[in-house]
């Protein structure tokens, strides 16, 4: 397995929890920029992110991350100095203020000089727009603000690799937009892996997308390549097409169908969501029509 020092490479990585296989022989390469990770609940996204964040170790397979092997103690420690991780439900001590918590994370990131740590805390809190609320106890912050505290903690120390597990969950549209701007900024010159259920986030942010389902890698490519999977397989109709793998009523009252289009169907431009749904529905349909 070869990789450059800015790359993240996984080869045949498997993770088991008892008899449950959470990841099965996943091989993947990530470069600089924002990569989106899509998949249904239970697909193994969080397991993959935890593995990349060095919170878990795989049962089999090899990893090379920014030139380090995270399966060795020295490689893991060296990698953690260059890594930022935002868990799905970031644990935040409610009795700390936002500033105290970020200062504490600074200690965990080995910034031992007090003034440098405080300056770094101010920098990251400003980056996520929390300067004015930095003295508030975390228990008094809204869900969106807590999510921003988590992101601020993840970017302490200016990490080169960022692993973000559903950072936009529970945010209102305006907050999501702010998060997108911030993540897009962070993606410049860094490797960012962003897990999400929102295909709009992937379309807006990512240069690459990875789809996981049932612990296996179903797709990796550009967002437009994912959309292209559904080329000629998405059509509009007045009624739900019986042969469609998935169909839903749109806002204008017509049905959007995905699957093998009938000969007389009027196909429409596919989106990332269409490609994603086709990929998953095809995999879950016994006939494998997709």
């Amino acid at each position: 397995m070869e990789s450059t020092t800015s790359q993240v490479t996984l080869a045949d990585v498997s993770v088991r929890y008892g008899h449950h296989i959470a990841l099965k022989d996943v091989s993947l390469t990530l470069g600089q920029g924002v990569t989106g990770l899509l998949g249904p609940n239970g697909a193994g996204k969080t397991t993959l992110l935890r593995t990349l964040a060095t919170a878990s170790t795989p049962d089999t397979g090899t990893l090379s991350m920014l030139g380090h092997d995270p399966l060795t103690p020295t490689g893991r420690q060296a990698l953690r100095r260059r890594l930022g991780y935002l868990p799905q439900n970031p644990g935040l001590p409610s009795h700390f203020t936002a500033f105290e918590f970020i200062d504490y994370v600074g200690i965990l990131k080995e910034i031992s000089d007090r003034e440098s740590r405080r300056a770094e805390a101010r920098r990251v809190l400003e980056a996520v727009g929390l300067t004015a609320d930095r003295s508030k106890r975390i228990r008094k912050l809204s869900g969106g603000m807590r999510q921003r505290v988590g992101l601020a903690a993840a970017i302490v120390g200016n990490p080169e690799l960022l692993v973000l597990d559903e950072p936009t969950v529970g945010l209102d549209p305006e907050q999501r937009l702010r998060f997108r701007e911030l993540i897009a900024e962070l993606g410049e010159g860094r490797t960012v892996l962003l897990s999400t259920h929102q295909t709009e986030d992937v379309a807006a942010l990512c240069h690459k997308v990875v789809v996981l389902d049932q612990g296996t890698l179903k797709f990796q490519g550009t967002p437009s390549e994912l959309a292209l999977l559904a080329h000629g397989r998405v059509w509009s109709s007045r009624e739900r097409s019986p042969g469609a793998l998935a169909a839903w009523r749109t806002g204008v009252g017509t049905f959007r169908n995905i699957g093998v289009a009938p000969a007389d169907a009027v196909t429409v431009e596919p989106t990332i969501e269409d490609g994603y749904l086709l990929l998953l529905e095809g995999a879950h349909t016994p006939t494998g029509a997709a």
Binding site: A55, P87, N89, P93, Y104, L108, A121, A153
Partner: protein, 308 residues
Amino acid sequence: MSEAQPVRPADGPDEGSAHLSPDLLRAYMDRPLAEGPRGLVEAHLQDCSTCRSQLFPLTGDETAMSRLWVRIDRATDEPSRSLLERCALRVGVPEDAARLSAAMPSLRWSWWGGAALLLLLAVVFARLSESNSASLAFFALEPALSALAVVAVTGQRFDPAYVWLAVSPLNGFRVVLLRAAVVQVLSLAMSSAGAVGLPLPFPHMLGWLIPSLMLTAVCLALMSRMDAVPAIILTLTAWAIWLVFAYSADLPAGTRLLLPTSQMIMAAVAVLACGVLAFLRDGFDTFDNKPGGTAPFWLSTTGTRELA
């Protein structure tokens, strides 16, 4: 403190809040206020543009004002410190180490108060009872409480911020040891004070000391490969069985725990547990206690827990 009370200005409220009196602002500028009033003034100045504008004529120029803001900013960002952290700083512990050892959400006064009360009751019971085995309650309780306290400050599920520690470059094992040591020292100090009241001669009154260290070491060794809850349950169950085995109405304090042989066995178990703990220390370095490919396969677990 009375001079720190904000007053409502005659020309109407600003931003819906009361304002600081000119005398208080002058006092803030001219002489050092006590920590409490100074904090109140600075917190108010952060949010109130009217009071900030009243401060400007007192500072004299823009540079002095800027310096003042830097000072206020820094004072506002200064973390609040627990008594333990303040004590650690006073005895010369580096700031980051003091913060790491004191940032333990489960280390509450309520815990220490409850533990102290239980031990006090055990001492009172031992003094009032005429039974030979009256001190047994203290010997049984103290090690269990010490082990519980250590688990409470080192167990993943009791620290909401553990995940940040688990993925940090800091050595998780060292942080666990640091916190365990702080709690064990506090716990032993409290128990030693209580043990003086036991109706036993020295050194029998300290017969709980080695069991206490043993239980903590065993529990930490188990926690390197499993969650804190099953680890403490296993440890306390084994401790209860050992106590039943050690009970003897004919012996002082009603237990064989005080016999030199028993103490040596428990010391040996403690040393063995410390050896196991050192060998399995990598388990504290990941969130699922997996050793990361450095330990033999038979020590690797396949279980996991959800992230906090």
